[in-house]
Amino acid sequence: MSKFSDRRKFLKTTSAATIAALGATMPLSGLLSSMKPFGKQSSADTVILLWMGGGMAHTETFDPKRFTAYSKGIKSNDVLSTFPSVPTVLDGVHFSEGLESVGNIMDRGTVIRSYVAADMGHILHSRHQYHWHTCYRPPQSVSAPHIGSWVARELGPINSSIPAFIDIGQRFTVGEGEELKAFHTAGFLGNEYGPFMIPDPTAGLESVRPPVGMSESRFEKRNQLYKELMNQGAMGEYGSDYHKESMKRSMEQAYRLLKSPEAAAFDLNKEPKSSYDIYNTGKFGLGCLMAKRLTQKGARFISVTTEYEPFMNWDTHENGHTRLADMKKRIDAPIAQLVKDLEQSGHLDRTMIILATEFSRDMMVEGRPELKVQEQVKQPDIINDMKFYGMHRHFTDGCSMLMFGGGIKKGNVFGQTADERPCKSIKDPIVIDQVHQSIYHALGIHPETNYVVEGRPFYTTPDGKGKAVKELFG
């Protein structure tokens, strides 16, 4: 009999394995989603977008050029970078001074130097940001969804206690706040998939805890009261009315979320001090810490931003050099730590981290060399004051991005910009459609995913024509 029991056991495990394999390659949701070819493999489950809102100058960060130190009387046109460059862990690849930590982890990811932003005739940050995040240029005839909402819609949350789309670090009370709201939306996909906003990561826990001042037991009692009152009232009359059902369901979800142990992921105070301190360079750094914690518990799409505020942060209309030194300090250590921590916990391979900005900056060119747009910054030809020393104009023709994890090639440089002004993309230019589709490709979302809105199929990228850049993947 022994050989049969062996066989039986083998059979059992084989069939179980087979069924498990069946399940793994073809989730049931695939049948229901609009487009999902059988067996499409994904290389990422989670996306972390590190959003450098305001226009991060590439020659001052990940694509340094010839350095010109400040001294009175230097010509604006001669200045390409206001920082010297420092080596990274990759041979022959340099970053701008101040990004040493990130430079040290470039063996885990790719630096893209040839992102080309759209040309929309006039530089308005929020318009370019809208375009970056939705892949559509405003105005649109329907409300276009944020990429986070697309992902939330197509894949849903990983951990049902962590909202599928979380946005950390952006307040709407800033200037251009209304324009920002215009793309922080799930649009026609429905409010279900909108962003869960956490403007301040240090207060993030409050968003997922019972109301401030309410103890756990009181929260429990309150919920119990709600349930009991519901049962005693005139409930039966409503039958299976969808209003009632959706209310019940969503209140239940909210309750579970607020009670779940996973909510502790939002509590930065639970992080060991040594680790906390590395991330604690400011709001952005702590946002990265929250992203790390959430990813390790199972988050789907997290956006962490240095926050866009007109003329603040990366949006340097003057004092570019001094501001950039500060900005780099804010981002260098946390980003490097984020990548390393996720690598250590084994999450990096299935987490795609992207650092991006809506366009770059230059001292002289506003817009593109061939398509200059209305100037918005006063930049004298001769620099006599520190406040003019920096990249203050908005440059759309060459921009840097970083990508880590989620199947991205390690230790790779993609694309190239010119070494002399204009420092535009000269090799392998990449546009936003391709960026989005590369993300979808990694996640296993079909490139022609679309929904019909007002009779029109609305695709993840315009007309469903976007193509992922396969060379980015290793």
């Binding site: 390659t25 493999q41 318009r127 005839s141 279900e192 709600y226 005693q232 969503s250 607020l258 199929p457």
Partner: protein, 843 residues
């Protein structure tokens, strides 16, 4: 003869094969692009041949097993063992070749997915059956035998299913069944039209197809009439729509060829033109569809070959010049509602019903053999009508007075009173119009001076019940204070040609006031209606200083068109005149009685606001069929005749038995737009963000402080809100609380809100700061106002639901409201109670 070594070899081989198969899936999926190679394609194409082997062999094994059952001796065991082995190996090869073949196609259709899944199941079961049978041979027990037979016959069933799906893929789903009901060509085509039409385009009416008659006409007569030509063209469109659009349409453009519009048909594909007008034999389209079945190049390449008649229709069409209809003559594939107003004679058999609306509903119910839904009781009615008309709850006193009122016409009087509460009425309907006219206090465009607020004008217009024609005229031909709607939102920089403010104006006027979607036609001829690009530009030109260059898909064409109303017979626009004059001309045309569409559209919107579902759904597609054409037409005619008095319209609806029916709920929100809807009563609605905020403000504590009001209306001196003044949500800028509860951001026109609850909304209600702060404030107030929990409980139920709590509710609530409830206890009670469906839903 069974051999241990053979067994282990065989078993390992099977397992390897199964996992190799899955890895093959992964390779194919990751786009290593082996799939293009010749070897791949050749092996893939062996699949239809290869599958026959495992099918035959497994069925043979089953047949032998059946013989064993009947003959009761195991003569065929060894043969069965061999068959199962062959079946398994052949099955593995079939599966692999099948996967290779599927790589040839593009996206997995549902049918393909089903076939693959079931086939994998078959493969696994045949492997298991073979194992089981080997075990059985070694050690024949009754149990083993039973187990084996179960596996074998399950395998056979699944095999048949896989075969069915597979055959459906190659031959179409009704390959066999279509033979069953093949009477005449006419019937066949009609049947197909009906079923497919319902699958693809709800609302597409089946059209009878008279193929043979046409052919005779065309071959016998020199110049076929326009009517006949239109008939033929419609048939061609129908054939193309049902057989070709899947691969040659807006979603998929195989061979760079689209067949969903005449321009695109004529343009051809990557190998050139497919239609040579006058010469079907030289036309690629005709050549491909008339290839023999199974031919490599046949079209359609997926699904059934066209029937003889269909091929002849295409040939006829090409040979007679491949003409396409002029817009006047065309027999439209899309339903177009009548434009002219219509005044149907009131039914004579409805004397029992005073309100004409009810006469029509009565006719409708009679025709459908439905009985009148029962009427709602007074308490439900007063709550519903208060919320629908003024967005507030009745105070306990108002409720009490109404309930104890004995007058026969108390409901009519109540409605009259509510409509006379001008400020409350205006505050409520302001939100409806803000959504529709895309008007908000904050939003994109304001900082760049590209957007204009119209609240002052709008509020006054609603409050004074401005006649609807005047309302429309002042929006379409605005003065400064109402220009925001037409001016749209102007972004700095370059924008898509279809989103210029003139185009926005055209789209928004068409959507809001005429119930038609001009957005598609703003880039190209619409695929879902008969509107053309020139129609959209013609309309937009009315709002333009000078004629706009027509852009097709954002590319300039060098062409222009004159300004023109969408239905030019309604009236002319003078292209020589200034923008102001053109818009004035449009304003007059829009409100003409002849423009029945305008009046039907607004009547439908108001009806939808009150009854939860329009007579026509979606309300932005007024070409769809209303559930009662008579009712819609009569109401629109009456409304226009009375000068477009909105309040009068609301009064008629609110005092009708139709409105006062007991509410019904829907299981699925998508059911609202189903075209086979039948009226069973008012639909249950969810309170809006504003209604909830105002409810809370009146009962507990204002949720918005006066300081954040963006609009401060001047209330009439005689008016004092019974609940006291507080900032109504309609006057406050959008914020996270209102967004969570469904207020749209008014970037675009919104003619209906999402009413389903979702997680973000629930979170805002569960721990949102604003809501909680309000609960705290309210609790403190109530603690000082009421002596004990009991009185608090009664007060709350009275204020919010107009009734006393029942004993069970009381028992539950008193657990927390006890004797001397703390503010926290009161807060928690408020929270739980406010979120009850009975409060959240308008019954």
């Amino acid at each position: 003869m069974y051999n241990k070594r053979l067994f282990w070899v065989g078993m390992s081989l099977s397992c390897i094969c199964i996992f190799a198969v899955f890895n093959t899936i992964q390779i194919a999926g990751s786009g290593l692009d082996l799939t293009g190679s010749l070897a791949w394609r050749l092996l893939g194409r062996l699949h239809p041949i290869a599958v026959h082997l495992p099918i035959g062999v497994i069925l043979f094994a089953a047949f032998l097993e059946i013989l064993i059952i009947f003959k009761k001796h195991a003569a065929y065991r060894q043969a069965i063992q061999l068959s199962l082995l062959i079946g398994l190996v052949a099955g593995v090869f079939s599966a692999i070749s099948g996967l290779m073949l599927s790589a040839e196609g593009d996206h997995a259709s549902l049918l393909l997915l089903r076939h693959q899944w079931v086939a994998m199941g078959v493969l696994c079961l045949s492997g298991l059956a073979w194992f089981k049978h080997a075990e059985l041979l070694e050690n024949p027990t009754k149990r083993s035998l039973a187990g084996f037979r179960i596996l074998l016959f399950a395998n056979v069933l699944l095999l048949l299913l896989a075969t069915y799906f597979g055959a459906s893929l190659t031959h179409g789903t009704n390959y066999w069944s279509s033979e069953v009901s093949k009477k005449t060509t006419k019937t066949l085509l009609t049947k197909k039209t009906t079923s497919l039409a319902q699958e693809r385009e709800p609302g597409l009416e089946p059209d009878p197809v008279f193929v043979l008659e046409n052919e005779q006409l065309f071959t016998n007569i020199e110049t076929p009439s326009m009517e006949d030509q239109a008939d033929l063209q419609l048939q061609v469109r129908t054939i193309l729509a049902h057989n070709c659009y899947d691969c040659h349409g807006p979603k998929k453009v195989k061979g760079d060829l689209r067949l969903d519009h005449i321009d695109l048909i004529m343009k051809g594909g990557e190998s050139g033109p497919v239609v040579v007008p006058g010469n079907a034999n030289a036309s690629e389209m005709y050549k491909r569809i008339s290839l023999p079945e199974g031919h490599e190049d046949i079209m359609p390449s997926k699904g059934k070959k066209l029937t003889e008649q269909e091929i002849r229709v295409i040939a006829l069409w090409i040979n007679t010049g491949a003409a396409w209809p002029d817009s006047q003559q065309v027999k439209k594939a899309f339903r177009n509602a009548a434009l002219a107003p219509r005044n149907p004679v009131l039914p004579l058999d409805a004397a029992a019903y005073g309100n004409p609306i009810d006469k029509w509903t009565n006719s409708y119910l009679k025709a459908k053999k439905l009985s009148w839904p029962s009427q709602t009781d007074d308490r439900t009615f007063i709550r519903r009508v208060y919320l629908d008309l003024i967005g507030l709850l009745p105070t306990p006193k108002e409720l009490e007075n109404f309930l104890s009122d004995k007058k026969a016409d108390k409901r009519e009087q109540l409605v009259r009173q509510l409509l006379d509460r001008e400020d409350d009425y205006a505050a409520h309907w302001l939100s409806f119009w803000n959504d529709a006219l895309r008007n908000d206090y904050t939003g994109t465009g304001y900082i760049t001076g590209g957007r204009f607020n119209i609240t002052n004008w709008l509020y006054a217009a609603i409050k004074t019940n401005k006649p609807f024609p005047q309302f429309v005229k002042e929006l379409v031909n605005p003065e400064k204070e109402s220009k925001g709607f037409i001016e749209g939102i102007k972004w700095r920089g370059e924008i898509n040609a279809s989103q210029r403010t003139e185009m926005q104006a055209a789209q928004n006027v068409a959507q809001v006031f005429l119930g038609l979607n001009l957005k598609c036609a703003s880039c190209h001829n619409s695929f879902i209606s008969d509107w053309k690009l020139t129609d959209a530009y013609g309309f937009a030109n009315i709002f333009a200083d000078s004629s706009l260059e027509i852009n097709r898909c954002d590319k300039p064409t060098g062409k222009f068109t004159r300004p023109q109303m969408l239905w030019k017979d309604l009236g002319k626009i003078d292209s020589m005149e200034s923008r102001k004059v053109k818009m004035a001309q449009l304003a007059e045309i829009m409100v003409k009685p002849e423009n029945g569409r305008l009046y039907r559209t607004i009547v439908n919107r108001i009806w939808k606001q009150m009854l939860g579902r329009g007579l026509v759904e979606p309300a932005d597609q007024m070409d769809n069929q209303p559930w009662s054409q008579d009712l819609l037409d009569w109401m629109a005619f009456d409304f226009q005749k009375k000068g477009g008095d909105i309040k009068s319209l609301i009064y008629s609806i609110a005092t009708s038995k139709t409105y006062q029916t007991k509410s019904v709920g829907l299981k699925d929100p998508n059911d609202i737009v189903l075209q086979n809807y039948s009226f069973r009563g008012s639909l249950r609605k969810r309170i809006t963000a504003e209604q909830f905020s105002d409810m809370v403000g009146a009962i507990i504590d204002p949720i918005f402080p006066d300081s954040i009001m963006k609009f401060k209306p001047k209330y009439s001196p005689s008016f004092v809100p019974p609940g006291g003044y507080f900032a109504r949500a309609a006057f406050v800028a959008n914020n996270s609380f209102l967004i969570a509860l469904g207020r749209p951001n008014r970037e675009n026109v919104t003619t209906g809100r999402e009413s389903q609850a979702n997680l973000l909304q629930a979170l805002e209600l569960t721990n949102g700061e604003r809501f909680n702060a309000m609960l705290k404030r309210g609790a403190t107030k109530w603690q000082s106002r009421y002596p004990d929990g009991d009185s608090m409980l009664s007060a709350f139920y009275s204020l919010s639901l107009g009734r006393k709590p029942n004993s069970k509710e009381k028992a539950v609530a008193m657990k927390i409201l006890g004797n001397a409830p703390s503010p926290e206890d009161i807060q928690d009670f408020f929270w739980a109670a406010l979120l009850l469906p009975e409060i959240q839903i308008i019954d």
